[in-house]
């Protein structure tokens, strides 16, 4: 068979990417909850009839490929012959999906000419409330049934018509039915946009040309991944790190990876990690795969869009029952495991791959606040994702106050929004001097934020890396500041916490700290001009 021309290949792949991009813009413009439009907690993908990803538009960095596993399981569990044009399937069962129960995946089959399924569209987004045991976030569940109502891949829309019965069950199980309705509408609009785009592509080029182009595109990307792989050293390396605890006991939890690189494969094996724990920090296997995919993408194809072909060399191993492969009824609500474990691959490879950065602040040290507004009496749920310092490389200092690398597109929440919507009066927001790990190149700086309550407020501190520090190389040091929160500072009731939930009264305060990144190289070799500049700008203080 004749190959697709280079121009058609570029045009068709460009049109698929544009379709995913148009889906993303539809979702963001019409979404209701800030977790979608501000925190960008969503993933969008287009796959062929075998479930192989053709194009995607991730909101957050680590959501690349996040729908692939879910779609693969749906293809196994569903009777595909029963699917009809206009159907939308909904799934939030964590073990089949790749995320916690608040992340609902909507999938629709695309029938180009009404005969058979030609493509699949998926959009997954965080819903504000699906009836979990606590409002806002769940930090101490011990099984799946405390984490929300389960929707195990059923048709919520049948041939274009919403299943009203099912919908009633859903909305009556949510504390925020209005928000759910808005976000569901936005997700469906996103799927419909994708469907329209796909139909345009197929009508323009015809089925056989498009399908041939997709195969060529996979092959092209696979070759690129192999070429990138050939630049990496061959062998096996391992690394381990610690997660604070599981939210039930105080014990630290071991996370470990063994990375093996051959000419054709990149294997990330997580089996040396702890087994399943009681609290909600277990990871779904799908989540583990997308976490590994994200770092693999940085290693092999960071600047070009990816598809199924890019990830063919990647194998992710985690046996059922491991921390990284949760099985029923393990609690899986807290995705922080995915953040803290994110740089394990870097830790394993940084000694042998000289362009990898040292550890970042390793966590997303934000917070949520739930309560009734002191002026209006309206209930509120707000959140803020705090920036951390990133690791230095062998050629430059680490970046300061950026979001965790696995969520690098997310923005923090403006003070003016937090003060307007919630009872959070800010007293300080500042970079923390000396929080960047020292080295010839130093790590980026972390952030300190002091907030006092102008009304009774339940505060949820979100971090799972508050007990241990990161890592640098060749004399570079990790940040001395750890991610943590201090409740009621400078009072007899002062308390230092990691992931924690407590109600503060009017006048009480918290201070949130985020870690800096690690430095690289011998600090004595630091360029004097850079050092002087750091001191003049108060990023580094002169100490004894």
């Amino acid at each position: 068979m004749e190959n697709t021309s280079a121009a058609d290949l570029e045009i068709i792949s460009g049109l698929f990417l544009s379709a995913a991009e148009q889906m993303r813009r539809t979702l963001v413009r019409t979404a209701f909850n800030a977790v979608i439009y501000e925190v960008l907690d969503f993933g969008i993908s287009i796959a062929d009839s075998k479930g192989r990803m053709v194009a995607e538009a991730a909101g957050i960095t680590s959501f690349i490929g996040a729908n692939d596993y879910a779609l693969k399981t749906l293809l196994e569990k569903l009777d595909l012959n029963s699917l009809k044009p206009g159907d939308v399937v909904m799934l939030n069962y964590p073990y089949w999906n790749s995320a916690h129960a608040s992340d609902a995946l909507l999938m629709s089959p695309v029938f180009i000419d009404n005969n058979e399924i030609d493509m699949f569209l998926c959009v997954r987004a965080h819903w504000l409330d699906l009836g979990a045991k606590d409002a806002g976030y769940v930090i101490d569940s011990t099984d799946i049934h405390q984490e929300g109502i389960i929707i195990p891949g059923v048709r919520i829309i049948k041939e274009g018509r919403l299943d009203e019965d099912l919908w009633k069950i859903l909305t009556f199980n949510s504390r925020l039915p209005d928000a759910i309705e808005g976000d569901f509408g936005a997700q469906v609009a996103c799927l419909r946009t994708g469907e329209r785009c796909l139909k345009e592509i197929f009508s323009k080029f015809g089925k056989s040309k498009v399908f041939r182009a997709i195969e060529d595109f996979f092959e092209h990307s696979h070759q690129k991944a192999l070429a990138a792989l050939s630049q990496l050293p061959k062998g096996t390396w391992s690394a381990s790190d610690w997660l604070d605890d599981d939210g039930i006991s105080d014990e630290m939890i071991k996370m470990a990876v063994k990375v093996s690189i051959t000419d054709t494969e990149f294997i990330a094996d997580y089996n040396d990690s702890s087994l399943k724990v009681a609290g909600p920090v277990n990871m779904t296997y799908g989540g583990t795969v997308s976490m590994a995919k994200t770092y693999f993408k940085f290693l092999t194809s960071r600047d070009s869009p990816s598809n199924h072909g890019n990830y063919l060399p990647l194998k992710v191993k985690a046996d059922p029952g491991n921390l990284f492969h949760a099985i029923y009824p393990a609690a899986t609500y807290i995705p922080w495991t995915k953040m803290v474990a994110f740089e394990l691959i870097a830790k394993a490879l940084a000694p042998v791959v000289d362009w990898l950065p040292m550890s970042s602040g390793l966590d997303e040290p934000g917070f949520m606040a739930v309560g009734k507004h002191h002026q209006t009496g309206q209930p509120f749920v707000v959140s803020n994702n705090e920036g951390i310092g990133w690791g230095a490389t062998r050629t430059h200092d680490g970046s300061t106050a950026l979001q965790h690398p696995s969520t690098s597109t997310v923005r923090n929440t403006p003070i003016e929004v937090l003060e307007r919507q919630a009872n959070l009066f800010h007293e300080e927001l500042t970079l923390i001097p000396d929080s960047g790990g020292i080295g010839q190149y130093r790590g980026g700086l972390g952030v300190r934020r002091k907030v006092s309550m102008v009304g009774e407020t339940e505060v949820i501190s979100m971090k799972k890396k508050s007990k241990t520090v990161g890592w640098g190389l060749d004399g570079g040091q990790p940040s001395l500041i750890k991610n943590h929160m201090v409740l009621r500072p400078d009072t007899p009731q002062e308390k230092k916490v990691g992931m924690y939930r407590e109600t503060l009264q009017t006048g009480e305060a918290f201070v949130n700290y985020s870690a800096g990144g690690a430095g690289w190289g011998d600090p004595v070799k630091r360029d004097l001009k850079s050092y002087a500049n750091d001191v003049a700008n108060g990023l580094v203080t002169l100490k004894e």
Partner: protein, 683 residues
């Protein structure tokens, strides 16, 4: 004695100078090279080439990219920030996010900042979210901080921003007053006064950028003014602003951030004027030059505005026309990446330029492909002033594309164009979809040196209703400045629910905003007369982040405004909700109409003897070259329907009319291209 208008537009490589005689309607234009080190020099040297006495000129309208370049090249003033105590790092912490294009760069290196941390000071004083003063501004600390920054640190400009200043500007007004009095030489910019919008980082960034370019722009405009006066110009000075209108030089100096997109503003202003003349409610304009394509939407005779733009990742909260720039232009380079043929965003620029320029470029560009296919004419490139060589174009296409892919030169060339057109079409679709708009409802206006080149394929690809090409497309941006009105906008933060109780308050705010803005405009321009005002409300459902801009009418009630908003939401996004909505802010736009030159007769001519000539052009449908004609634009008969394929050209651009496309030139010199089927479908 005849009276003249002068418009000067500084582009990337050339300065366009357009002179219009208001009596005889004769239009002259020419280009001089830019002088990047001293931009005023090129303008003044261009002015010295004008043959007419400068005293006969009434208006000088200028578009400049100076402020923008100062930011991009980090050549602005040394800026200090004064803000609330405890919040000194808001500008450096920013929003903590990377662009989507950098999202997988876990070794990201932050670019140098605009303000050193040591030049940031915090002072006591706090306003809360309701606009209530919690503690008074510490005036002594403010002056002491400013003294340190100015006299010890050597800051040339001060940016001020205080928390919640959108809700109450009292502290910022006071701070500006105190600083102006104590340090009259130092430029001062304040966030809440520049942008009355919530979000502290974005406001701070707006103030910093304004302060950063203030001294530079002031020097430049004053030099230019002196230089122009020296050579005898005695008229009025106007600078284009980022909303597609004009400002006096004085207003531009006071608020330079409003001129940040002054460069492309002429094109937007011209497009707006053309939309009005041709009564096109929905127009998409593309300005295609050598390196990039600027796309802009005009809806109901207004440029579509955004209220937040970014320069080099720094946000600016200002009403700015929604300009989307793509890396697609005449110099876009084609490359083979394994199995793919990619085009752009890298450009050969002006130096070395496309291979056919013969200046040492050997990569294949869009211009080379177009030349080889006969989509532009070699004999009349830049009005015949520039030699181009088809052999060099062919060689570049062969070496880079055709030989590696083992295809014919012409097939490679048409592939380059198809890839670029498809990519451009996708980007335009994405931009329109964000606003819930469909390109098929729009007319495409194409100008710039390469706009007419890709126009016919692009409007086909997007299935748009028609393609419009203005007279003298390659200098349309400078021409557009001639038709600009004085325009001025101001916004006011509202954040109030649309209901019976609050609506009076919203209306009061609207009245207040209009009066305040009108007084300011008349005072600053020293013009008399009634400006035309239009008010827009930015509305969203409570819980949503993104707003829709809805016209706000004087006799509006809560019900009528809400109904207009929900209808627009339904129209744009296909669904609406039964939820409550709120007005986030109000924007008033004031326009003082200026006398517009009548460009109807303003057609300059090439050599009048040039007529239709035979021309070889590629036919994409049949994949072969065909014998056809090329016609200079002025040679076209008015109101006659011409059918493609053939090539039409003027001294700055060429347009390949395809098969199944028709072309009509109207009495104003405007070309309209349609598809044949459509014509048959209609009548």
């Amino acid at each position: 004695m005849d009276r003249f208008k002068l418009a000067i537009d500084i582009g990337g490589t050339f300065v366009d100078i357009v002179v219009f005689n208001q009596q005889t309607k004769v239009l002259r234009h020419f280009k001089v090279p830019t002088t990047p080190d001293n931009p005023a020099q090129a303008v003044l040297s261009g002015v010295s080439d004008i043959k007419t006495q400068l005293s006969q000129f009434t208006d000088f309208i200028h578009g400049t990219t100076l402020g923008l370049n100062a930011i991009l090249e980090r050549k602005g003033a040394k800026v200090g920030i004064i803000t609330n105590k405890g919040f000194e790092d808001v500008f450096l912490i920013a929003r903590g996010s990377l662009n989507f294009s950098d999202m997988y760069r876990f070794d990201f290196e932050q670019p140098p900042t605009l303000v050193q941390r040591r030049n940031i000071r915090g002072v006591n004083g706090r306003i809360n979210f309701l606009g209530k003063e919690i503690s008074p501004l510490d005036e002594k600390a403010l002056l002491a901080s400013a003294d340190e920054l100015i006299n010890q640190a050597g800051c040339e400009a001060i940016a001020i921003n205080f928390l919640h200043s959108y809700a109450n500007t009292k502290h910022e007004k006071l701070a500006v007053k105190l600083l102006n009095r104590a340090f009259p030489e130092t430029a001062v910019s304040a966030g809440g006064l520049l942008a009355n919008e919530y979000r502290e980082y974005e406001r701070t960034s707006t103030a910093v950028l304004d302060a950063y370019i203030k001294p530079v722009l002031k020097d430049y405009l004053q030099n230019l003014k002196l230089g122009m006066r020296d050579v005898g110009f005695d008229g009025k000075f106007y600078a284009m602003n980022s909303a597609g209108g004009a400002l006096t030089f004085q207003m531009a100096e006071a608020k330079p951030i409003s001129t940040i997109f002054s460069g492309p503003a002429g094109g937007v202003s011209g497009a707006l004027d053309l939309a009005k003349i041709m009564k096109k409610r929905k127009l998409l304009s593309i300005d295609v030059g050598g390196t990039s394509l600027d796309a802009n939407l005009i809806l109901d005779f207004q440029p579509v505005d955004v209220f937040e733009a970014h320069v080099d990742n720094f946000p600016i909260l200002q009403p700015i026309f929604d300009l989307r720039t793509l890396g697609a232009g005449g110099g876009s380079i084609a490359k083979i990446d394994n199995k793919l043929l990619t085009v752009g965003p890298k450009s050969a620029g002006a130096v070395p330029g496309p291979a056919c320029y013969g200046r040492g470029g050997n990569e294949a560009t869009l211009t080379d492909a177009a030349l080889h296919l006969g989509f532009i004419t070699a004999s009349n490139f830049m009005g015949g002033k520039m030699e181009v060589a088809d052999t060099l174009a062919k060689q570049a296409i062969d070496n880079n594309i055709a030989k590696p892919l083992k295809i014919k030169t012409a097939d490679a060339a048409i592939s380059i164009i198809r890839v670029l057109v498809s990519k451009t079409a996708s980007a335009i679709k994405e931009m329109m979809l964000e606003r819930g708009l469909d390109p098929r409802d729009f007319s495409l206006l194409a100008f710039g040196g390469c706009g007419p080149l890709i126009g016919p394929m692009l409007f086909d690809e997007l299935e748009m209703a028609e393609l419009i090409v203005p007279p003298l497309p390659s200098v349309f941006s400078a021409l557009g400045m001639m038709t600009s009105d004085l325009s001025f906008s101001q916004s006011m933060s509202v954040l109030k629910k649309i209901d019976m109780d609050d609506f009076e308050k919203i209306r009061d705010k609207a009245k207040h905003l209009k009066v305040q803005a009108t007084n300011e405009l008349l005072e600053k321009t020293r013009e008399v007369g009634d400006p035309i005002s239009s008010m827009t409300a930015r509305v969203r459902f409570i819980g949503q982040e993104h707003t829709l801009s809805v016209p706000f009418l004087e006799n509006d009630t809560d019900k009528s405004l809400f109904a207009r908003f929900t209808e627009l939401h339904l129209n744009r996004f296909g669904h609406s909700f039964k939820l409550e909505a709120e007005v986030v802010s109000l924007i008033v736009k004031l326009t003082l109409e200026k006398e517009k030159p009548d460009l109807t007769l303003a057609l300059t001519s090439l050599d009048q003897n040039t007529g239709a000539e035979y021309h070889k052009m590629f036919d994409d449908e049949n994949s072969c070259f065909i014998e056809t004609k090329k016609l200079p634009t002025f040679h076209l008969e008015k109101n006659k329907i011409y059918e493609g394929p053939f090539l039409v050209y003027d001294e700055g651009s060429s347009m390949p009319l395809l098969k199944h496309q028709t072309l009509v030139l109207d009495k104003r010199g405007i070309i309209t291209v349609r598809r044949v089927e459509e014509k048959n479908g209609k009548y």
